[in-house]
C-alpha cells in the first residue's frame, strides 16, 4: 500500500517520515521514530498517556492520524527538558514523589506544561479538571496535583 510522506517538526527539529494512512501519530512516534516516551494506555483517548502538543494544543496522539502532522509542530515528553536541565515540572514531580510506576508520567507532564502555559496560577480544582483526562492508577493523584501547584507557584515567583 502507498505510504504517505509527511514533513513536520518534532521537538524543534525538522522531521520527515513515511506512514500508513491509518497509522496514528502515536504509532508514528513510537514505532517509526522510536520516541517511546509517549505511551499507549488505551488507544481511545481515555487515558492521556500519549499526550503531546500539536501546534501548541494539547491532544491525545492516539486520536491524531500521522498524516495530520503535515506542516505542524509536535512536542513530546522527549523535548521537555532543556539539555541536561529538567523542566521545573519534571523536577517537582521527582521531589514530590508524584510518580510510582511512572507510565502515566510523560502524559501528565506534557498536559501539566500545557496548563501552566495557559494558566500560570491554577486552583487545585482547575488542575484536577485539566488533568482529568490523564489516568493514574498508582498515586491517587494527590502528589501529582501538589507537584503541579508547587511548580506553578515557583514559576510565578521566578
Amino acid at each position: 500500500m502507498a505510504k504517505i510522506h509527511v514533513t513536520t517538526e518534532i521537538n524543534g527539529d525538522p522531521v520527515e517520515f513515511l506512514c500508513e494512512p491509518e497509522q496514528t501519530l502515536l504509532d508514528v512516534l513510537r514505532d517509526e521514530l522510536y520516541l517511546t516516551g509517549s505511551k499507549e494506555g488505551c488507544g481511545s483517548g481515555d487515558c492521556g498517556a500519549c499526550s503531546v502538543t500539536l501546534d501548541g494544543r494539547l491532544v491525545c496522539s492516539c486520536l491524531v492520524l500521522g498524516a495530520e502532522a503535515e506542516g505542524k509542530r509536535v512536542e513530546t515528553i522527549e523535548g521537555m527538558a532543556d539539555g541536561d536541565r529538567l523542566h521545573p515540572l519534571q523536577q517537582k514531580f521527582l521531589e514530590h514523589a508524584a510518580l510510582q510506576c511512572g507510565v502515566c508520567t510523560p502524559g501528565f507532564l506534557v498536559a501539566a506544561k500545557a496548563l501552566l502555559e495557559k494558566n500560570p496560577d491554577p486552583s487545585e480544582t482547575e488542575v484536577r479538571y485539566w488533568l482529568a483526562g490523564n489516568l493514574c492508577r498508582c498515586t491517587g493523584y494527590d502528589k501529582i496535583v501538589r507537584a503541579v501547584l508547587d511548580t506553578a507557584s515557583d514559576m510565578r515567583g521566578s
Binding site: 521527582l94 492508577r137 494527590d142
Partner: protein
C-alpha cells in the same frame, strides 16, 4: 500533609531511613527515557497478535489456520496444539497458587473457550496490519455452549458446567458429580453457637460485590527472541520475571537456564502482572519464526482476558453484648474465580475477622468457576471483599448499640497475643495505634454539613516474605552496585538503596540499585504481597554484612592485624580493641582500590527465604456528600492511617496509602464488570470501566503509624496492600450516615443509590 506518629523508639538514629531522597530511576521516568514493556524494539522484529473467542463458553471443534499461514508477511501461527498438554501441578504465582494445567489452558484455549476473550490462536507477522488481517483469516469452528456469569447462578443445580472433571475439594465425602465449586475452605476457633447465645444483639446481612480490575495504565507487553539453538531472551513488563521464566519453561518444555528474562520498567500491576498471558505465546511464535516477536495487549484485551479480582456473594453474622464486646463472627463467602479454579477465597476467609480479637469465629469459603476471565491477584487478594462485608456489619452493630464505631473497634481490636481464626497468634501489631490516632484526628472530630456522612473502617493484610536474592558489588572507587531481583513497581530501588546506604554508612548517591535479569541473580519471588521493601531489606542487609565482613578482613590484611580487631563504622574500617587509634580509618574506596592485592573483587550476596513478615493494619476515615436527587456520592475528605512498621521512604509509603485509598474509592462507587445476557463484557475500556479521575477525589491525607516489625532489620512491615482494604466499608458506612440507608452491594453507583433513596422515601 502527612504526619508521622512514633510509638516505638527508633533503635538508633538513622541517616537515610525516614528521609525522602529522589528515586534513582526518577529522571528516566520524567523524561520518557524509561523502557516499559512495549518500548523495546529489536532488529528484524515481528508483531504478534492473538485471536480471541467471541463466545463466553464454546467447544472448539476445529481451527483452520491455513489461510492465515498463506498470507504474505505471516511468519508463524500458533494454537494450543503447539503447546504441550500439562498435568495438574500446583505452584505459587502471585499470592495465590496456580495449576500449570490451567495456566496452559488459559494462555491458549485447548478444547474449550471458557470466556469471551479467551485466546484461541496467535500470529506473528511483519506488520501490525498484516497480523490483524491474518487473524481474520483463521477459521474457528465453535460449538457454542450455555454460559454462566454470576457466582450464585454457577452453584445452582443445572448450571452449565465449565470443567467436566471438577470435583469439589474440601468436602467430605467427596462429591461424585462435577460442579462449578472447586473448593471449600473453613477456618474456625471457639464455638459460634455459644458466642451468638451470649450476644445481646445479632446482625446478619448478605453482601454482593462485582469483579474489579487492577486497571494498571500499561497494558501487558513483551518482546521474545528465541534463537535457532533454543536459547531465549524475554523482555517483559511483569511483577516477577523469575516467575515468568519458571512458567514459560514449564509451558514450553524448555530448560530454565535457556530462558533469560529481563524485567522491563513496569507500568503498574497491583497483582495483575504476576501470571503469564502473552509471554509463552510470544516465545512460541518467536521459536517458530526464528525472529524476535513483540506482543502487546490492547486495553480491550486487558479487560477481557486478564484477571480482575473476584466478585462475591457473602453472608455475615456478628453478635455483640450491649457493652460492645463482639461474642461471635460468622462468614459464608462465595468467591467467583473466573474460568479456572483458584480465586482468593483462602485469604478472603482468613482476613475477614482479622482486625478483631474474638473467641468464636467461623468462616467458610467457596471457590467457584464462571465464564469470566480467570481472576488474578489484586492488592490484598480476597481481603477487601470479605473485610468490606464484616466492617459494614461492625458499623451497624456500633450504630445499633449507639457506641462510637472507633470505640467499638478499640474494644475488640486485635493486638499482640490475639489468636487469629486461621491459627497463628499475632506478634506486635499496630491496629490499636491506628484506631487511637483516628479517634484523636482532627478529621474525625470536625462537624459535617447536610447530606454528609462520615465513615470509618479498619483493614488487615498479612504481608509476606519469601525467596529473595541480592548481590552487592563493591566497585573500585568504593561505590556500590546493588542488584535486586524484584521488579521495581513503585520506588523499591529507592528504598533498597537507602537501606544499603544505611547498612554501609555511606551516601545514598554512592549506591546504584538495579533490577537484575534472571541470569544475574538467584531466584527471587515476585513483587507482591507487599514484600519488596520488607524482603529486600533483609537480603540487602545480609549482603551488606557479608561485604562489610570481607572489607574488614581486607583492612586487617592491609594493617597486618587480626581480622577480629577491625570494626565497621560510617563507611569505614576502623582498628578496634588494642589497635584502636593506631591506624587511620580506611574508606570503602581505599579498601576497594587495594582489593586486587588483598584477595580480589569484593561482593556480598544473600539468598534467603525471608520470614517474619509483619502484619499491617490500617484505619480509614472518609466524609461523603450524597446528592439525593441523582444518587451521586462525592468524596469530600479522606484520611488514611496505617501502621508501616517503619517508613523507609515516607513519600512512597504515603503514595501507597493514597493510591490504595483511591482504588478503593473506585471499587466502592463505580468500578464493575458489566455483562450482557450474551455473557459478553460490555465495558472493556476506560470510558465505561470508570476508575477515579483527578477531579473525582480530594487530597488524601495520610498518617504513618510506626509500630516497628521486630523481625526486620529496619522494622519494616510492608505497606502496599492494606490501604485498599478499608475504603469500601468506610464509604458505605459514611453513606449510611448521610442517608440512613445501609448498602450491601458494590458498587454504590448513582442509579442504585437513587433507587434506594426513593424506596426509603416511599417513592
Amino acid at each position: 500533609m502527612a504526619t508521622a506518629l512514633k510509638f516505638d523508639k527508633p533503635e538508633g538514629d538513622y541517616q537515610w531511613i525516614g528521609t525522602r531522597p529522589l528515586r534513582p530511576d526518577g529522571v528516566d521516568k520524567v523524561t520518557g527515557r524509561a523502557k516499559f514493556g512495549a518500548d523495546m524494539a529489536l532488529p528484524d522484529m515481528l508483531v504478534g497478535k492473538v485471536l480471541r473467542s467471541p463466545h463466553p463458553h464454546a467447544r472448539i471443534k476445529k481451527i483452520d489456520t491455513s489461510k492465515a499461514e498463506a498470507l504474505p508477511g505471516v511468519k508463524a501461527v500458533v494454537t494450543a496444539v503447539d503447546f504441550k498438554e500439562l498435568p495438574h501441578e500446583l505452584s505459587l504465582a502471585g499470592e495465590m497458587p496456580i495449576n500449570y494445567r490451567d495456566v496452559g489452558r488459559n494462555v491458549m484455549a485447548r478444547d474449550k473457550a471458557l470466556y469471551e476473550g479467551h485466546a484461541v490462536a496467535a500470529v506473528a507477522a511483519t506488520s501490525a496490519s498484516i497480523a490483524r488481517k491474518a487473524l481474520k483469516l483463521i477459521e474457528v469452528d465453535y460449538e457454542v455452549l450455555p454460559h454462566v456469569i454470576e457466582v450464585m447462578d454457577a452453584v445452582k443445580d443445572g448450571a452449565p458446567i465449565l470443567h467436566e472433571d471438577l470435583i469439589t475439594v474440601g468436602v467430605e465425602p467427596a462429591p461424585t458429580k462435577a460442579s462449578n465449586v472447586a473448593k471449600r475452605v473453613e477456618f474456625a476457633i471457639g464455638d459460634i453457637d455459644k458466642g451468638f447465645a451470649e450476644a445481646d444483639v445479632v446482625v446478619e446481612r448478605t453482601f454482593d460485590t462485582k469483579p474489579v480490575h487492577q486497571a494498571y495504565i500499561e497494558p501487558h507487553a513483551c518482546v521474545a527472541s528465541v534463537s535457532e539453538d533454543g536459547q531465549a531472551e524475554l523482555f517483559v513488563s511483569t511483577q516477577g520475571h523469575f516467575i515468568v521464566r519458571a512458567h514459560c519453561a514449564k509451558l514450553l518444555g524448555m530448560d530454565i537456564a535457556k530462558i533469560r528474562v529481563t524485567a522491563a520498567e513496569i507500568g503498574g500491576g497491583f497483582g495483575g502482572k504476576t501470571v503469564v498471558y502473552l509471554e509463552p505465546v510470544a516465545l512460541m511464535l518467536s521459536k517458530k519464526a526464528c525472529r524476535p516477536v513483540k506482543m502487546q495487549m490492547s486495553r480491550e484485551e486487558v479487560f477481557k482476558a486478564t484477571g480482575p479480582t473476584s466478585g462475591a456473594h457473602m453472608r455475615i453474622k456478628i453478635g455483640a453484648t450491649r457493652d460492645g464486646r463482639i461474642t461471635a463472627g460468622e462468614a459464608e463467602l462465595y468467591y467467583q474465580a473466573g474460568a479456572f479454579p483458584g480465586g482468593p477465597i483462602g485469604p478472603g476467609a482468613m482476613c475477614a475477622f482479622a482486625p478483631y480479637d474474638l473467641e468464636n469465629v467461623k468462616t467458610v469459603g467457596f471457590d467457584i468457576v464462571t465464564n469470566r476471565p480467570k481472576v488474578a491477584a489484586y492488592r490484598a487478594p480476597g481481603a477487601p471483599i470479605s473485610e468490606y462485608a464484616v466492617e459494614s456489619v461492625v458499623d451497624e452493630i456500633a450504630k445499633t448499640l449507639e457506641i462510637d464505631p472507633v470505640e467499638l473497634r478499640l474494644k475488640n481490636a486485635a493486638k499482640e497475643g490475639t489468636r487469629t481464626a486461621y491459627g497463628p497468634k499475632f506478634g506486635k501489631v499496630g491496629l490499636v495505634q491506628t484506631l487511637e490516632a483516628a479517634k484523636a484526628h482532627e478529621h474525625y472530630n470536625t462537624p459535617l454539613g447536610p447530606n454528609q456522612g462520615r465513615g470509618v473502617a479498619s483493614g488487615f493484610w498479612f504481608n509476606i516474605g519469601g525467596e529473595t536474592s541480592a548481590t552487592i558489588n563493591i566497585n573500585d572507587d568504593g561505590t556500590i552496585t546493588l542488584i535486586q531481583g524484584t521488579p521495581d513497581i513503585g520506588g523499591s530501588r529507592a528504598s533498597n538503596a537507602m537501606m544499603a546506604a544505611e547498612a554501609f554508612g555511606i551516601d545514598y548517591d554512592k549506591v546504584r540499585p538495579i533490577v537484575g535479569d534472571t541470569s544475574a541473580l538467584g531466584f527471587t519471588f515476585l513483587t507482591g504481597g507487599s514484600r519488596a521493601t520488607l524482603a529486600n531489606g533483609v537480603t540487602t542487609r545480609e549482603a551488606a554484612n557479608n561485604a562489610i565482613t570481607e572489607m574488614c578482613k581486607r583492612a586487617a590484611k592491609m594493617w597486618e592485624i587480626p581480622e577480629d580487631a577491625v570494626k565497621w563504622e560510617n563507611g569505614h574500617a576502623l582498628p578496634a580493641g588494642d589497635n584502636a587509634g593506631k591506624f587511620e580509618p580506611l574508606s570503602m574506596a581505599q579498601i576497594a582500590k587495594m582489593a586486587p592485592k588483598t584477595g580480589g573483587p569484593i561482593a556480598g550476596h544473600a539468598h534467603i527465604n525471608v520470614q517474619g513478615a509483619g502484619p499491617s493494619f490500617g484505619t480509614h476515615i472518609v466524609d461523603v456528600e450524597v446528592d439525593k436527587e441523582t444518587g451521586k456520592v462525592d468524596i469530600l475528605r479522606y484520611t488514611v492511617i496505617q501502621d508501616a512498621g517503619r517508613a523507609v521512604h515516607p513519600s512512597y509509603v504515603e503514595g501507597q496509602y493514597q493510591g490504595g485509598a483511591v482504588q478503593g474509592i473506585g471499587w466502592a462507587l463505580n468500578e464493575e464488570y458489566i455483562y450482557g445476557e450474551d455473557g459478553k463484557l460490555q465495558n472493556a475500556g476506560f470510558l465505561d470501566y470508570r476508575i477515579p479521575v483527578a477531579s473525582d477525589v480530594p487530597m488524601i491525607d495520610t498518617v504513618i503509624v510506626e509500630c516497628t516489625n521486630p523481625s526486620h532489620p529496619y522494622g519494616v512491615r510492608g505497606v502496599g496492600e492494606t490501604p485498599i482494604v478499608p475504603p469500601m466499608a468506610a464509604i458505605s458506612n459514611a453513606i449510611e450516615q448521610a442517608t440512613g440507608i445501609r448498602f450491601t452491594e458494590l458498587p454504590m453507583s448513582p442509579p442504585k443509590v437513587l433507587k434506594a433513596l426513593d424506596e426509603a422515601n416511599g417513592g
